[in-house]
């Protein structure tokens, strides 16, 4: 059960994520950060809502656009920012972008940059947890476009057949780059694809953080069942910005009006209003949260700028693990 404090924390995570994203957006436009950003603004409720109830040992496979998952799972914003700056961090040592980094100590596995390609890895993580008889849950994020890949199909079916403790969370922001989901599939609801695998498919409003949280928690119960059962959750949402910073906000593949309509359904605004109405969040607290997160991200940027680049001499490290005599 979520308590008042939880709700406030969840709200803060969403604001922090958005501040992070908007700041990076701005930095990129000014040539101050090398990583080409794939902005998650408008989709914050999904990463936060799905990860908030997870334990440290639970495993997450973020998609390209699940910035919130890193933060909620425990990656400090300044480390994440330093990674985007391609600086030396323990996390990835400049070896990969901030979108595809991992920290096994926090239960985050680095995805591959191949759409759909990380899903098999997540299934494997869930398989390991099942074989080791831990009660860890794996949560695997991907977009609407990813559900058209062969890897999605094979992986979800495999997880179903092997009865694995995994929750598939589809962030359906209705576009894969410039391709509307309407042009890439003839089904209205991705959740319906679950039927092909004989597992539950659940559709939720992805801009309603509580709905996301509840759906994931229900799915976790199924994943912990005997036998465990995977669930496919579709979170309907919208991508406010372009696919990446190279793609203008309103490409020719969608209209300004559509974007504006969806901005009215802002997950943060929606939740803030709810919390206000419920008397959980005061105007004061809202301002404080804005301030705090702004300061945190400013500090993250400072940290990222000051952090040195990785040592070129270490570039070849970590291709192979050393063989210990056995």
């Amino acid at each position: 059960m979520l308590h008042k404090d939880d709700l406030i924390k969840m709200y803060r995570w969403m604001v922090l994520t958005r501040t992070f994203e908007l700041t990076m957006n701005d930095l990129y436009q000014h040539g101050r950060v090398p990583e080409l950003q794939h902005c998650s603004v408008g989709q914050e409720a999904i990463g936060v809502g799905a990860c908030y109830g997870l334990r440290p040992e639970d495993v997450v496979m973020p998609s390209l656009r699940t910035r919130a998952a890193f933060l909620v799972k425990g990656v400090p914003s300044k480390i994440l920012m330093a990674a985007a700056f391609a600086k030396e961090t323990k996390l990835c040592g400049g070896k990969n972008t901030s979108h595809h980094l991992g920290d096994l100590s926090l239960g985050i596995i680095a995805g591959t940059g191949i759409v759909g390609g990380s899903i098999p890895l997540a299934v494997g993580a869930a398989l390991a947890c099942k074989l080791k008889k831990t009660d860890q849950i794996t949560v695997c994020f991907f977009g609407d476009g990813a559900t058209n890949t062969g890897n999605f199909h094979e992986s979800v079916n495999l997880a179903a057949v092997l009865s694995l403790p995994i929750v598939f969370v589809c962030e359906n922001n209705q576009y894969a780059m410039g391709t509307s989901a309407k042009r890439s599939m003839l089904v209205d609801n991705i959740a319906d694809r679950a039927a092909s695998y004989g597992i539950p498919g659940v559709m939720v409003n992805g801009n309603d953080i509580i709905a996301v949280y509840d759906a994931v928690q229900n799915a976790i119960q199924k994943a912990k069942g005997v036998p465990p059962q995977p669930t496919l959750i579709e979170c309907k949402t919208y991508r406010w910005y372009g696919h990446s910073q190279r793609d203008p906000v309103d490409g020719r593949y969608r209209t300004k009006e559509e974007i504006e309509t969806w901005k009215l359904r802002c997950p943060i605004k929606h939740f803030r209003e709810y919390l206000k109405r419920a008397g959980i969040l005061s105007e004061e607290a809202i301002r404080e949260t804005d301030n705090e997160t702004r300061l945190e991200i400013e500090e993250a940027v400072r940290f990222a700028e000051e952090t040195p680049y990785p040592e070129p001499g270490r570039v070849l490290d970590d291709n192979y693990a050393p063989v210990l005599e056995v």
Binding site: P34, E35, L36, A86, K87, C92, G93, G94, K95, N96, T97, H100, T112, G113, I114, V115, G116, G117, G145, A146, N148, T149, G150, A176, M177, G178, T179, R183, S184, M185, G251, R252, Y253, Y309, P310, P312, G313, R314, V315, L316, N319
Partner: protein, 333 residues
């Protein structure tokens, strides 16, 4: 003559072939409405419509296989995979599908398709930076082409589209912006012919893609020291223009191969093998491969710069290979 970028040259080649032959069509992820991730196919959707400029779901295996199937049935598809790194997803459709269809039909089928994919490191991280052309060069039944200039790019792509075989056409991302004068009229550049981009007598460099430019820069540098490089741009990796390479090496007696792909299993050694046999006894020094070391490609610039071959590396190896000659030059002999 007009000056255009390599990306534009490719776009023009496709456009002109689509006008010339109505069996030519484009298929890929974001090739249409969006104009292509690297804008190579920009404008074609508006001009030719959704029928001949086909956007697909993110389903690379299906779309490349569909291209092969359509080719067998008489069309000439130009398929695109957004990054060569993702071409691993279609490896099966190429190796077991496109490349073998003619053979298993005992010659009854032809498979006139092109698969385009950008490659190379441009700072986009481990999964968007690779150069894996060598894997595809090991597939009997396909041809492999990599252009380095806008002129070549346009002429080669036209030949590729007209070729009755599956042609894998790989474009280094950092060459897209390179500009060149190209003719206004229709022309082609034949597949299977290397181009000597620079004549020289002291050392032969065999290379392709972006590295051609780095080699030419290095050559300019070395020319100041009196060392004359011969720079051969392979352009077509399969089939390989052995004659041009071997006769150059017989002239210069020294061979350096430069590629961005990582060294082990790279296509460079294929050339070493051929040259050390066909020009046996002509070599004054061992063949040297300048290549990226065997590593995942890192994101961070300083790491990246530490591994991708550049002018400095080429100059250094050339100097060490031509050691005697330099000493001569320096001593004014």
């Amino acid at each position: 003559m007009r000056e255009i970028t390599l990306a534009r040259a490719l776009g023009e080649a496709i456009r002109e072939e689509m006008i010339r032959d109505d069996t030519v069509f484009i298929i890929g992820v974001e090739v249409g409405l969006y104009g292509g991730c690297f804008r190579v196919t920009e404008g074609l959707f508006d001009e030719f419509g959704a029928e001949r400029v086909i956007d697909t779901p993110i389903s690379e295996s299906a779309l490349v296989g569909a291209a092969a199937g359509a080719a067998v049935m008489g069309m000439k598809p130009v398929a695109e995979v957004m990054y060569q790194d993702f071409a691993t997803l279609v490896m099966d459709q190429i190796l077991n599908g496109a490349a073998k269809l003619r053979y298993v039909h005992a010659g009854q089928a032809t498979v006139p398709m092109v698969l385009r994919a950008p490659f190379g490191a441009s700072g986009a991280g481990a999964h968007h930076s690779q150069s894996i052309e060598a894997m595809f060069c090991h597939i009997p039944g396909v041809k492999v082409v990599i252009p380095s200039t806008p002129y070549d790019a346009k002429g080669l792509l036209k030949s590729a589209i007209r070729d009755p075989n599956p042609v894998l056409f790989f474009e280094h991302k950092l060459t897209y912006g390179i500009k060149d004068e190209i003719p206004d009229e229709d022309y082609t550049v034949s597949l299977g012919k290397a181009d000597i981009k620079l004549q020289g007598k002291d050392l032969t460099i065999v290379t392709w893609g972006l590295m051609v430019h780095k080699a030419l820069n290095a050559a300019a540098e070395l020319a100041k020291k009196g060392i004359e490089l011969e720079v051969i741009d392979l352009r077509t990796l399969v089939p390989l223009d052995t004659a041009t390479i071997v006769s150059s090496v017989k002239k210069t007696s020294r061979l350096m191969i430069v590629h961005e792909a990582c060294k082990t299993g790279g296509y460079g050694s294929e050339i070493t093998d051929i040259v050390t046999r066909e020009a046996f006894g002509y070599l004054d020094s061992p063949v040297h491969r300048v290549a990226t070391p065997d590593t995942t490609i890192p994101f961070s610039r300083p790491l990246l710069e530490a591994i991708i071959p550049d002018e400095k590396d080429i100059v250094a190896v050339a100097l060490s290979m031509t050691g005697n000659r330099i000493t001569e030059v320096e001593n004014g002999i």
